[in-house]
Structures are given as structure tokens and as C-alpha cells.
Subunit: 305 residues, 2 copies
């Protein structure tokens, strides 16, 4: 049984109030999802990166998507937490010396700088495994069919056909400044886009969305995923290290292909805005219920870090 | 619907015939589970380690356990393949320079020696994610409830409360020759035992085992898991590199605590035999249906590599 929570949305949606309400709920849920335990090191390492703050954009998208279809926050919160666990795992592994070799993340030392490479690898593995355990055991008031479907979607978004595949092509493209826009788009659709899409889609699956609804939400998520990455590339050039909380200018140093490099800064910003406008329009038919997701789409292009 | 396949077991169970029948079925299922794809590198890397041979003990245990409860091979084969994917992922990550730093596995170069550390980390991540996708999407003729329960059990066996936790305590115990038998047992119950137990338990869950049956099978698996590790420690001392297909004598070099070091070779062998005898006795009430699992238990202690 789903406990249905209605939230009214006035004509001018107050995203700040919305985020201010949701953020502590998500933080508390994440903190409760993985408690300290034995062996201390691995639980500390997982919690260190999972609870390192951040915008919690993925859980937010998942909650807002579930809400749009009419599902309850309680029923989707374990899924939302699992998505943040998967995202955290991908950051921990991406930051490893054998990968992007980054020392800072969200203004803090990266996991392997604190706990060592071995524990960082295992912390990622532990978070990935636990994300599935958490969904499977903690989701309440949703049929097993739906939970299974959401698990399948999330797992695909993580694997070789999702973020792992995107990361591989990204690694292979490093030092090749002449890669095509198709390759760049492949990288981002998989490395960033697949998981963002999973957030929106899995939230809706748990709430019982129809295939037609899932398709619309999927298209919405595709657009904001790509816009998100374009903005990321722009920020790597225009933002300072203090704003980003991680090393700025990494892409240029690493000779990575980026959208601003292919299109220039202004055209990149225009493309991102266009993708977001399209995304918001796709959800128009859902009426006021779509306001949180639409506002989150704007938030993605307006962000400073 | 499960297509039920009856196999008759004569009084003297012919394990060689059983393994000879099952092995090619498992190999074919694994080969079909992950086909080559784009990006080539990651699919090649995953297939390189997944299809590197080995005894396929984990899928064998899963199939035999499902069969004992009366489930069909078809319904459990995706689970059996997923268990081998998870096992392969743990080997790839364990072999990394930041972990055990091993160059050979099953007589072949380890994954990172062939594909590089970055791809090896991602191949492990890809296999882990795919194992859950594969169970969730490919399991046929089993209720979603059961599939979800099996996924939860497998995920727990992999995470910080399972093989990841065991690996952490193992890493922390290196160079400490005076660790207790309790710590050593914790390591092995988690690093090796948890996944072996998941094989037996998940096969039985999919077949619809009762809680009482699961408890018996769990105890059986606990015993053979521990026996398996004791034999592994013994073989590290007594077997040659050619027999093992990996570097022999690694434990002594790494100053790892082992059962032979704690108990001596003879007592270690006696303990392993005792655990296996107990394990076989636990399954006695299942009659002839238990013969494959019982024979696999013997196989574990008699193996030469």
C-alpha cells in the first residue's frame, strides 16, 4: 500500500522552498541507510563519500518523478538513496589514480586520498552492491514486479551499456582533441545521462507509471542529462576551484573534448537552454504536478557548481 | 511456469558424469550472457575473465541446490551465471595492484595486466551491475517475489557485510602473523563463504524452498565454504604453480595468516574433512536429491587446484 502525500504547487513554483524541505529528508535517509559498522574502515569510507554533501540532484529527480505520477515519498526514498549510492560509487572509482586521478571532490579529499586505493575500490563495490540490496529489502508498498523492473533499469544504467561504457569511451578519448560530437554525446549520454535518466524513470516505475508516461519522462531526462553535461563543461572553464569544490580546468589540462571546445561557450549555453526548454515542454501535459521536475530542469542550467 | 526436469540419481553418484554434463551448459550460458559489444574494450575485458575457465563451482552449487528443491535448470541458469559474474568481478578487483597485486589467475594474465588498471576496475563494476540486471531481466518462470529475495541475498553476500568486508579485514590483517582464528574465520566466512552460501541459498530460493530448507542449505554451505578455504590454504603450500594456475606460496610471502599456520597441515586437513562430513549429513533427509550437492562437497576437499 502506498501512503499518498499530496503537495500543492502554486502557479509560481518555489524551488528554494522545495529543495529546503527535501534536502534534509534526503540527508537523513542517506545517513540512516548506511550506519557505521564492522569492519569500521569500509563503513567509514562508504559514509565519507556518501555523506559528503552535494546537491543530491539524483534523489531529488527520483522523488519528484515519483511524485509526478502520484507515488508516495516513503515508497521511493530507498530507491532515491540507492541512486545516490550508485552515483557516489562512480565518483569514488572515477577519482582513482588509475582513472581520472583526482585529489579533491566536493571540496574534500577524494576517498582514496583518505582511505587508500584498496579501500576506495572496495567502498565503491560495497556501495554498488548495497544499492541493490537496499532497494530489494527496503522498498515498501510497491509490488515486487515494479521493484524488479526498477532494479533492472538501474543496473543497466550502471553497466557497460551505461555509465561504465561512457567512462570507457571517455578514457579512450583522452588526449584525442579531435573526437566527433557523436562520440562526445555517446560519452555523456552514458557516463552522466544514463543514471540521471534512471533517477527519473525508476521513480516513475515505482509509482506505477504507464509505458507512455515512462517514455515522456525518459525523453525529459535525456534532455536534462545532456544539458547537465554541457553546463558541466562550461563550468570547468568559467568557474573557480572554490566554486566547483574540485580542481578547475581539468578538462583542458587532460586535453578532453568538451562542448565549449566544439561549439564555443555561447553556443554551448544556447544548446543547453534549448534542451531544458524542450524538456519542460514535454512535461506540460502533466500540469502542476510537473512543476518540481520542471524547476529542477531550470536549476540544472542555472547552477554555479 | 517452471519446466521441471527430473534427473535420476543412482546409489553411487557419478560426479564426473554430472560435471561433464553441466560444465558445457554453464560455459554456453556464460558465453551467451555477455556477448561482444560496444565499447569493445569493456566487453572484451569482461568476457576475458568471465570465460577464463575455472571449475564453475558457484554455478554448479546453484544449479544443484535448485534441483534439490525441485526447480528447473532453465529457471535458475541466469542466477547461476550472475553468481559467476560476481565471483569474476571479485577476482578482477582482488588481483589489482592496489589489492593483492597478482599477475596470473587461472594460468592466464590477470585482467589489469591485459587491459590496464582502469579497464579492469570498470570491468569489475560492469560485471557486478550486469549480474543484477541479468537476474532481474532473464529469470523466467519464477515469481517476482522470489527473484527479489534472491537479489537481496546475493547483494548482501557481495557488500560490506559479505565479501567486501572479508576482503577489508584480510587486507588489514596482512603482515600481522598473529591474528586469531576468529579473525581468520571472519575473513573467510565473508570473503569466500558468503558468496558460496549465496549460490546454494539463491538456487533454493528461486525453486521455492521453505525457510526450514533454506536454513539447512545455509548451514551446509557455511561448512563447505570454510572447508573450501582451508583446502585453499593447504594448496597454497603443497601445490605447484602449474597445478594452481596462479602464483603459489603467495600467502607465506605476504605473511598472511592461514589455517595450516594456525593448526598445522594435518589438523587443517582433518578439520576440512570434518566440516564436509557434517555438511553432507545435514542434507541426508533430502535423500537422493541431495547427491549432487553432497558429491560437490566431496569434490571441494579432494580438489588439487
Amino acid at each position: 500500500m502506498t501512503t499518498h502525500q499530496e503537495i500543492s504547487h502554486p502557479a509560481t513554483f518555489d524551488l528554494v522552498a522545495y529543495l529546503t524541505e527535501r534536502q534534509p529528508q534526503i540527508e537523513a535517509a542517506l545517513d540512516a541507510a548506511i550506519r557505521p559498522g564492522y569492519p569500521d574502515t569500509i563503513y567509514d569510507a562508504m559514509r565519507y563519500s556518501l555523506l559528503a554533501g552535494g546537491k543530491r540532484l539524483r534523489p531529488m529527480l527520483c522523488l519528484a518523478s515519483c511524485e509526478l505520477i502520484g507515488g508516495s515519498l516513503d515508497s521511493v526514498m530507498p530507491m532515491a538513496c540507492a541512486l545516490e549510492m550508485v552515483h557516489t560509487m562512480s565518483l569514488i572509482h572515477d577519482d582513482l589514480p588509475a582513472m581520472d586521478d583526482d585529489d579533491y571532490r566536493r571540496g574534500k579529499l577524494t576517498n582514496h586520498k583518505v582511505y587508500g586505493e584498496d579501500i576506495a575500490i572496495l567502498a565503491g563495490d560495497g556501495l554498488l552492491a548495497y544499492s541493490f540490496e537496499y532497494i530489494a529489502t527496503q522498498t515498501q508498498g510497491v509490488s515486487a514486479d515494479r521493484v524488479l523492473k526498477a532494479i533492472a533499469h538501474l543496473a543497466k544504467a550502471v553497466g557497460a551499456n551505461g555509465l561504465v561504457g561512457g567512462q570507457v569511451v571517455d578514457l579512450e578519448s583522452e588526449g584525442k582533441p579531435d573526437i566527433s560530437v557523436e562520440t562526445l554525446t555517446y560519452i555523456h549520454n552514458h557516463k552522466t545521462g544514463a543514471l540521471l535518466k534512471a533517477c527519473v524513470v525508476c521513480g516513475a516505475i515505482l509509482a506505477g507509471a504507464t509505458e507512455a508516461q515512462l517514455e515522456k519522462l525518459s525523453k525529459f531526462a535525456h534532455n536534462i542529462g545532456l544539458a547537465f553535461q554541457i553546463i558541466d563543461d562550461i563550468l570547468d572553464i568559467t568557474a573557480t576551484q572554490a566554486e566547483l569544490g574540485k580542481t578547475a580546468g581539468k578538462d583542458i589540462q587532460a586535453q578532453k573534448a568538451t562542448y565549449p571546445k566544439l561549439w564555443g561557450l555561447e553556443e554551448s549555453k544556447r544548446q543547453a537552454d534549448k534542451l531544458v526548454a524542450e524538456a519542460k515542454a514535454i512535461l506540460a501535459e502533466f500540469g502542476d504536478r510537473a512543476r518540481p521536475l520542471q524547476a529542477l530542469a531550470d536549476y540544472i542550467t542555472d547552477r554555479k557548481n
